[in-house]
Structures are given as C-alpha cells and as structure tokens.
C-alpha cells in the first residue's frame, strides 16, 4: 500500500513569516503537463505595500551588518540550498517539465551564484570606492552604500529558481532589502527558497517574496515612495515603460528589463546598480 503524500501549502514570505495573502486569493499552479500542483497565494497590492514596510524596517539592520557578516549569511543560503537540492530539483521538474538533469544543473547554478555573490559582500566596496586626491587639506573618500529598498520583478522566463536568485542576490550584497514578485506561472521554488532564507540567518524582512500577478502588483511598487530602486529585469512582457514613468515621480532608480538566457547574469555592475556613492570630505587642517 502506497503512502498518501502530505502536500505543502504555498504561502507568501513576508517579514520573515509565511502569511497567506491578506486578500484571501489563491491561483492554481499546474505542472508542465497540466497536473494540479498547488494553490499559490495571489498577493494583493496591500501585500505588496506590507512587504515594502517589512523591507524598510529590516534595512537598518541588514545595511548596518558588517560586510563579513552579510557575506557569511549569503553563503549560508548556499549551504542550506545545497542541503535541500532534491526538493528543489523535484519542484523544478514538476513545474518546468525539464529533465532531472537539467533541473539539477539549474539548482547547482543557483547555489553557486549565491556563493559567488557572497564573496563580493566584503570586496565590492574596495573595488568601487576610492580615495580622491583633492587640492586641499582634506581626507576625501568615496564609498558605495546600499540604495535602500529594492523592488524586483523576477525573470518570468528561463529557470524559475535561477532567475529569482540571480535577481535578488546582487541587491542583497551591499545591504539593500528586497521585495520580489516571483515567476508568476512557476512560483513554487520561490516560496521554497523563502523557507531556505528563513532558516539561513537572513533577518526577517530582508527578502520578501510575493507570488501572484506582476502586472497587478508592479505599478504599486513602481510608484511607492518608499521604494528606492526598481529592478524590472523580468518585466519585459509588461507595459514596463509606464512602470519606469511611475518610478520617475520619486526619482526611483530603475533597471530596465533584460531578455534572453543572459538576463540578470552575474556581474559586479548588477551589485553597483543598487548602490549610492557617498563622498566624505574630512578636514585635516584643524590641529
């Protein structure tokens, strides 16, 4: 007699907790061949706003953590993801309909991407900052700092886990906090990643994962005055120009959509896109 499986309830990941959508809405997630997989939470604009509040609250702690600490936390994500490889492979095979080998390759790549970005946490500042030889008695330094709350529309095509990881990891490196709208059609690995984050020493609220319709939530995130940067990497199929126009209202920094297999490919530029350069003049003259 075969054992009856215990299916998981997929909810949102918001402020370190796993709530249902405040709207009570869900949408059906089906496998590649049409089999019912889960009812994912269909997040509302209120959920999106709550996520921004959670991200803002978490910003001070995450941005204020030492670079070494942030690097270790990001590396810890890779460790826990590695430990749950089988689960992610199974989920990806189910929802994307790819071979187990391809799903394994995607999970491997996702894990290694966390490792790659983790290593940047205590180095990007040395590469992007510098001393400036000003003409006067001043000790002058330029250093990058996190931009703040970053709202991300995760890639909607390609690997559902890898796309998500590629989008959120670079924003986390300098100390930003993130609100991300996951792959709409294939959100299961996003919520499972939330479970990994929740047990990886990532403080609650640093990453907030919303499932549901990017077209519905994106305008609220784009025009939200407490969102400092908007990554439209996965918004290519939306009317994203209007999102960029909305973001201009508070001079929100915008990254435009990227398409194709190299979307959100790992780069230092992607980390620096979510930083602000602060230049400090310290007077030397007052001895």
């Amino acid at each position: 007699m075969t054992r009856l499986a215990v299916p998981k309830t997929y909810k949102l990941y918001l402020g370190g907790k796993f709530p249902r959508s405040e709207s009570g809405r869900v949408y059906e997630i089906r496998s590649h061949d049409g089999e019912f997989l889960a009812n994912a939470a269909k997040a509302s604009r209120k959920d999106a706003r709550d996520a921004v509040v959670a991200a803002r609250s978490a910003l001070g702690g995450w941005a204020g953590a030492t670079a070494y600490n942030r690097g270790q936390v990001l590396y810890r994500i890779a460790e826990l993801l590695e430990g749950r490889r089988a689960q992610f492979v199974a989920e990806i095979v189910q929802s994307e309909g790819v071979t187990p080998a391809a799903a394994s390759a995607q999970v491997d790549e996702s894990i290694d991407r966390w490792v790659w970005y983790a290593g940047w946490a205590d180095k990007y500042l040395q590469v992007a900052g510098n001393a400036n030889p000003v003409s006067g008695p001043y000790f002058n330094l330029s250093v990058p700092e996190p931009t703040g709350v970053v709202a991300i529309i995760a890639p909607q095509t390609g690997g559902s886990l890898l796309g998500l990881v590629s989008a959120i990891a670079p924003a986390l490196v300098p100390g930003n906090t993130v609100v991300v709208v996951a792959n709409e059609a294939m959100p299961l690995s996003a919520i499972s990643l939330g479970e990994v984050l929740a047990t990886s020493d990532v403080p609650g609220g640093v990453v907030n994962i919303l499932t549901g319709s990017p077209a519905e939530m994106a305008p609220w995130l784009a025009s939200h005055a407490d969102v400092n940067a908007l990554d439209l990497v996965g918004a290519g199929d939306l009317d994203w120009i209007h999102l960029e126009i909305d973001a201009a209202e508070t001079l929100t920094r915008v990254l435009q959509p990227e398409n194709g297999p190299d979307a959100a490919s790992p780069s230092l530029a992607r980390i620096l896109a979510f930083t602000e350069t602060k230049t400090i003049w310290h007077t030397k003259g007052l001895i």
Partner: protein, 515 residues
C-alpha cells in the same frame, strides 16, 4: 563711516570685448537661431548685456546631427591621448582668459567677482585639466576593459554656476569620447558662448561641442531628441523628474543632479569660529544659489543662542552690493523670477511662525537683491525647512542628541549634501555613516574638486559628476562582459529555454492613478 565702508574697488570690464548679438554654436560656427532672440541682462543693473539666439527644434536637430557627424567621423576615431591633448589645450586657454571669463560671469550671473575669479573659473580650468588626463586611461575608469563612449551627450545646465557646470558636463563627456550638445540656462548663456570661442582657439574639431541657447522649449527638444544617447541635467527636482519620465523606455543613459535641502549639523563640541564661517559659506556663498547649500542649520540646543549671536554678528559684516566690486560678499539674485520665489517662501516662513532676521544693509535701487536672512524657531514642518529656497536664506533648527540630529537631517526627500561640525572624530565618522546624502563635509562646507565625485541620494538625482565615478557615467562597458558564468557546468540557457516574448505587452494596472 564705519570700518566696513570701503572705497569702491570695481574690477575693470575693459578686457571684455562682447558682441551685441550671439548666435548658436553649431558644427564649429556661430549661426543664427530660428527662434526669437532674447536679452541677457545684468541682474545687478537690469541692463542688457547682449542679445542671445534662441534655438528651436530645427536648430537643436542641426546641433545633434553635427554632434553625430563629429562623433562618427572625427572624435571616435581619435586616440585617447589626442582627445586628452585637446582638453589640456582648453584648460590652458581657460587659464589664459581667466580674468575675462570671471568678469563675464559676474556680469551675466550677478555673483561676486571674488567668487567667479577665485572659485568658478579656477575650478573650470581644473576640471578640464583633470579629465584631460583620463582620456587615454579609460580602461581604469572602473567599468571594465575597453569601454566605449556612449555617443552624443545632451547636456542641460543651470544658471547658478554657468561656466563651472559647463565644465562639469563637457570635460568628462569629451574625455570619454562622446560629442556634446549643451544648452546653457536662459539667463546665463554668455560664458558658454565665450567658451565656444575658446574651442575655436583650441581648434577643436567642428561639431564635437555644440552650444544651443534658448529657453525651456530648447532644453526639452534637446533632451527628447531621439539622436542623443545620454542626457545629463543639473537643475530642479521638478525638471529632473520630467526628464526621467520623458526618457523612460529609451536606452538613453541619464545623469541627474537635482535639488537639495542640506543639513549643516553643529554639535556642542564644534570648533565654533570655523563652524560660523562654514555656516556662512554654506548658505550665503553664491547668494545661496547652490543645490548643495547648507540651508538647514541644525544646532545642538545647548549652544543655539551662542551660535545665533555669533552668526548675526558675522552676517552684519557681510558686504552686499555691486558684484563687480572686489570687496563684495553677496551679489545680485540671478533673476526677477528667482527673487519672487525667494520672497514668496520667506513670506510663508514668517506666516508659519518662524522668526526672521536680516542685518541692516542698503539694497541697491536697480537690480535683483535679497538680504541675507536667518529664520530661527523653525520647525521641521515649515515650508522653509522642507522646500529648496535657492537663496540666501538659512533655517535654524535645534536638536539634543546625535540620533535626533541624524533623524532631522535625513527627514527630507532630498539627499545631496550635509555638513558635520564636531571636534570628536568618532562622532563625526558615525554621523557621516548615517547621513543619507551623496556629499558629506566634515568641519568644512561647499568644497568642490574635479577629483571628488558629487551627486545625490533619493530625490536629489542619480549618477555622479567629478572623479573616476563622473567619468564612468559617460562610458559604456564593453559588450558581453556581463555574461560571465558562476560555474562552468551546463549554462542555464540549456536548462529551460526562454519563452519567446509575445508581441503584446501585458497592460499593468492603471487604477492606482487615484493615489
């Protein structure tokens, strides 16, 4: 006669040979504009200096075409070292003609000659000299090996530092290999046109720099021109917002240096004499027409009365009047429009309950003038504590703890600059860390240097000007560099084929217009 009454010491205007009319500078030549020419006046006397051509959309198009031709045929084919040599030439020519440029700047802008002579023009030369040396070292700019220029840069600059803002824009653009169409502010075109003469003397290839004078319509036509690859703008946050909206959806690179409402924080252990000078320099330099001006003074409560008393005494020694006089500290407000704006906001300051004070001084009868003004008893909700006045108006607020100072300093949608005055190094570093602003001055204020990046957080804009960062903004990373993989295993592309983009875009919810 008090000890403050000096005999007039006006700078000579004899070395200025101005023309009665100035055309547009397109493709290396001065040409007539198709719009209605407009007056440039001396704000200290309201007398006409010259008539300036007004570029319409067709003129802007001609300028962009000239810049494109110059980019394709000449500038992008030159070696970095040759581009650098042109910039070195320009730096030297600016130095040679420094006095003339300073006099012209003061005449047109109204700023004191001591500022245009000792700050603006020397920095202009320094800016070209600094970026000249970068032109053949672009691999080290921080955007990876073999970066390329972006193409044609559209640059729109404000009236507060006309020639200096031109230098901030043109020097890095040319060093990086771009060609330029620049639009000066409507009220301060003069030095940009003298600069065009310098470019002719430098024998800069035609079309590499084009200068189109005019009004807002000219700027709009330039920024919106489909032939430009980069837009660099310095000005108000409102105008910057409009530009950000208008370029949305395009691949134009945008650099915005916008407004500010900087906090100048004075702790009770500050070097007080230096702090007073820093406060004065912070807000009364250039009549307060400075986007990074220290317009909000945050004083620790325990020293508030002492600071205000010293500040008033110091302000009483400032000399307001003829900008061309070498002893003048405070010159003319740049335009009637700006004067009206300052008056409106200061009147609101009084109505909202802040206490207004200005030193006794006689304002000249013609021209646009505003007395240096301090508001005390200002609360964070007052308009004069929130809105950018862009004039010689200081709002004084108090705080008790460093945490309160930081909270108040950051309580603004702007984030351009801030000042910290304290003798305690650890406190200075901690506060500098917590301030959300792009430029922090510790025990100094309003320092500028071509080697030092300048630019804002939040609604003060994005991108940096100055230093290596300022150069990087004008460069495009080499293609394909970002495609590095983190592992050598099967690339993700083969894992799950990307779905081809549907031609139809999903409309986003537009209901939120009711926000």
């Amino acid at each position: 006669m008090s000890f403050l009454d000096y005999a007039p010491a006006p700078e000579s205007q004899a070395l200025l040979n101005l023309r009665a009319d100035y055309g547009l500078f397109i493709d290396g030549q001065f040409v007539a504009g198709r719009g209605e020419p407009f007056q440039s006046i001396n704000p200290a006397t309201e007398k006409q200096i010259a008539m300036i051509a007004h570029a319409d959309a067709a003129d802007v198009d001609a300028a962009v075409s000239a810049a494109r031709r110059a980019y394709d045929k000449t500038w992008s084919k030159l070696s970095g070292s040759d581009r650098g040599k042109y910039l070195f030439r320009i730096a030297r020519l600016v130095q040679e003609r420094a006095r003339e440029l300073a006099v012209a700047e003061t005449l047109d802008n109204g700023k004191p000659i001591k500022e245009s002579r000792d700050v603006d023009v020397p920095l202009v030369a320094a800016w070209f000299f600094y970026y000249a040396g970068w032109a053949d070292k672009l691999d080290h700019a921080g955007v990876g090996p073999t970066p390329s220029a972006r193409g044609v840069a559209a640059q729109v600059i404000p009236w507060n530092f006309p020639l200096l803002m031109l230098a901030w824009k043109i020097a890095p653009a040319l060093a990086a290999g771009n060609t330029v169409v620049l639009k000066p502010a409507e009220t301060t075109s003069l030095t940009a046109l003298l600069f065009a003469e310098i470019l002719q003397q430098a024998d800069l290839p035609a079309g590499v720099v084009n200068i189109v004078t005019g009004g807002r319509d000219t700027g709009k036509a330039l920024v919106g021109h489909p032939g430009v690859n980069l837009v660099a703008f310095t000005g108000s946050t409102g105008a910057g917002r409009a530009i950000a909206r208008s370029v949305a959806g395009t691949d134009k690179k945008v650099i915005l240096e916008l407004g500010g409402k900087a906090a100048n924080i004075v702790f009770d252990d500050a070097p007080i004499d230096q702090a007073i000078e820093g406060i004065v320099n912070g807000i009364f330099f250039n009549q307060g027409h400075v986007c990074c001006a220290g317009s909000r003074l945050l004083v620790q409560e325990s020293i508030h009365d002492d600071v205000i008393e010293r500040l008033k005494a110091r302000l009483s020694t400032l000399r307001l009047g003829d900008p061309m006089d070498k002893n003048t500290d405070i010159g003319a407000i740049n335009s009637a429009e700006q004067l009206a704006r300052i008056r409106e906001l200061t009147d609101i300051g009084e109505q909202e309950g802040a206490e207004r004070w200005s030193p006794d001084c006689v304002l000249p009868e013609t021209g646009f003038w505003f007395k240096p003004t301090i508001f005390t008893n200002v609360s964070t909700s007052h308009r004069i504590a929130r809105d950018e006045v862009f004039g010689p108006v200081l709002s004084v607020l108090t705080f008790r703890t460093p945490a309160e100072a930081v909270a108040k300093a950051n309580n603004t949608p702007y984030g351009l600059s801030a000042g910290i005055w304290t003798e305690k190094g650890s406190r200075m570093l901690a506060v500098a860390d917590k301030l959300r602003a792009g430029v922090i001055w510790a025990n100094t204020f309003n320092r500028f240097d071509p080697a030092s990046p300048f630019g804002g957080y939040k609604e003060s804009g994005y991108g940096r000007e100055g230093g290596r960062h300022g150069l990087a903004a004008y460069l495009k990373p080499a293609a394909g560099r970002a495609a590095a993989r983190t592992v050598t295993a099967a690339p993700a592309a083969s894992v799950a084929p990307a779905v081809a983009s549907p031609a139809e875009k999903t409309p986003v919810s537009r209901k939120k217009a009711a926000k």
